[in-house]
Assembly symmetry: C2
Homo-oligomer: 262 residues x 2
């Protein structure tokens, strides 16, 4: 069945209107008209079967017969353990990683996090205000990106606790790692089951200490390089998240019967 | 030869100092000391051959014998054609794409760019002020990420001119594209020579019109999907840039004799 994209604002009260090049294509090329049926999607995860009611080269209008929601949530459930950066950077990390499809964000205190006022103490009122703002950013960003799930931004925990969290794969990007690129590591990752839980550890502005890398490695967390150019902490968070989803989502989808991927 | 990472601040006046776990490793495990030679890199693209002058479990100090600069610039030369977004978003795009390794950024006027004051007119004083700020951001971001090259942010041009620029591959992420994922497109890309010039076309906040997608396609620019979740314009710019480098850089490096990649 022919399949067309419409902006969400052209879907209203069970009706759909298609204009421009697509309406010409429907009427002049496909020679469809009143009574014919087409598929329409709106880019927010909604897909419709539409019965054409009126058709001209400039506008095709139709009625929605059935509607289904495409699964936009990832089967790769990423938890970002983020060395607490300065306030604005964390806002950006929460917004962008939510758009990309992250599952959970856990701010962590590391050897080089900078204590700002009392923000490094879990449960302080200042930290509560921040958490509330970050969770609000996550809600708004989730909605904007057409997601169903709202990632949780959790309370600050120390690095030493974070490295004990159970995952199927955990990575710690580190500028001192040169042998192991993230690509090779992800290509070697045995994705046995789904959902696949992946942990990403990102250092604060000052990076990781060698001791932290040693502790992480001891707990099975793999140090990786994100490339030759140095990325700021917030950039590293977004890019690591995007690359993990890029590599692992198609692998997982290929394991699920009846699900295809582009 | 053993190879160690030091933070750039531990490199000064042709001397290098190594502390913590690595100094213990050098003295106790490798049993190296005065007169031995090691390799050291600092994560900014500099690599050193170092003659150890003093060594204890807590500190190893040495003198730089030779220094070389690793090529951090990419052989994938990306030009981002960015539908002009609101001011702050463009600042973020310039900063982040520079960190990632972009070659050039060209703001473009499209059907849905929002004219803010007179910013949509090439050559106006307001536009000159902006260009000057964006180029300053590019300079600072380039330095911070250890790059040698400073990407140029060019004057605003119309979409109709941009699509005529010559590249080896051009992509136009579009939320209405569902059949063609960016991954499949990049995997199919025949990277015949280097440097490889890639164009990325990113729509402004309101996205592309169908007519623009048609014109782009007519000029050989390939519409691709960046995934099921909707990305804001600035996020799409960064992620498309990161994914192109991630896929194509190793392919190109593999074609150059004597260059390995992780």
């Amino acid at each position: 069945m022919p399949r067309f994209f419409v902006q969400p604002e052209f879907v209203y009260e069970q009706k759909i209107s298609i204009r421009g090049g697509d309406s010409r294509h429907i009427t002049n090329v496909l020679r469809l008209g009143r009574g014919d049926v087409i598929n329409v999607f709106d880019g927010t995860g909604k897909e419709y079967v539409v019965l054409i009611e009126r058709a001209s080269a400039s506008t095709v209008e139709g009625r929605i017969i059935t509607e289904k929601t495409i699964e936009v949530e990832s089967l790769v459930e990423i938890t970002l353990f983020q060395g607490l950066p300065k306030a604005k950077k964390m806002d950006l990390i929460v917004e962008k990683c939510t758009e990309l499809g992250i599952n959970k964000i856990v701010p962590i205190r590391t050897a080089r996090t900078i204590p700002e006022t009392d923000a490094d103490y879990t449960g302080t009122s200042q930290m509560k205000v921040r958490l509330s703002r970050w969770n609000k950013i996550a809600r708004e960003s989730s909605k904007q990106s057409g997601r169903v799930k709202i990632p949780e931004v959790c309370d600050l925990i120390p690095f030493s606790h974070a490295i004990n969290e159970k995952t199927d794969l955990s990575l710690i990007p580190f500028e001192g790692e040169r042998e192991q690129g993230i690509k090779k590591t992800l290509k070697r990752c045995p994705v046995a089951s789904y959902p696949c839980r992946v942990g990403i550890f990102i250092g604060p502005e000052g990076g990781w200490t060698k001791e932290e890398i040693g502790q992480a490695r001891h707990n099975g967390i793999i140090p990786v390089s994100l490339g030759l150019r140095i990325l700021r902490t917030e950039t590293a968070a977004m890019i690591a998240c995007a690359l993990v989803l890029y590599e692992l989502e198609p692998i997982i989808k290929s394991k699920i019967p009846g699900v295809s991927d582009n």
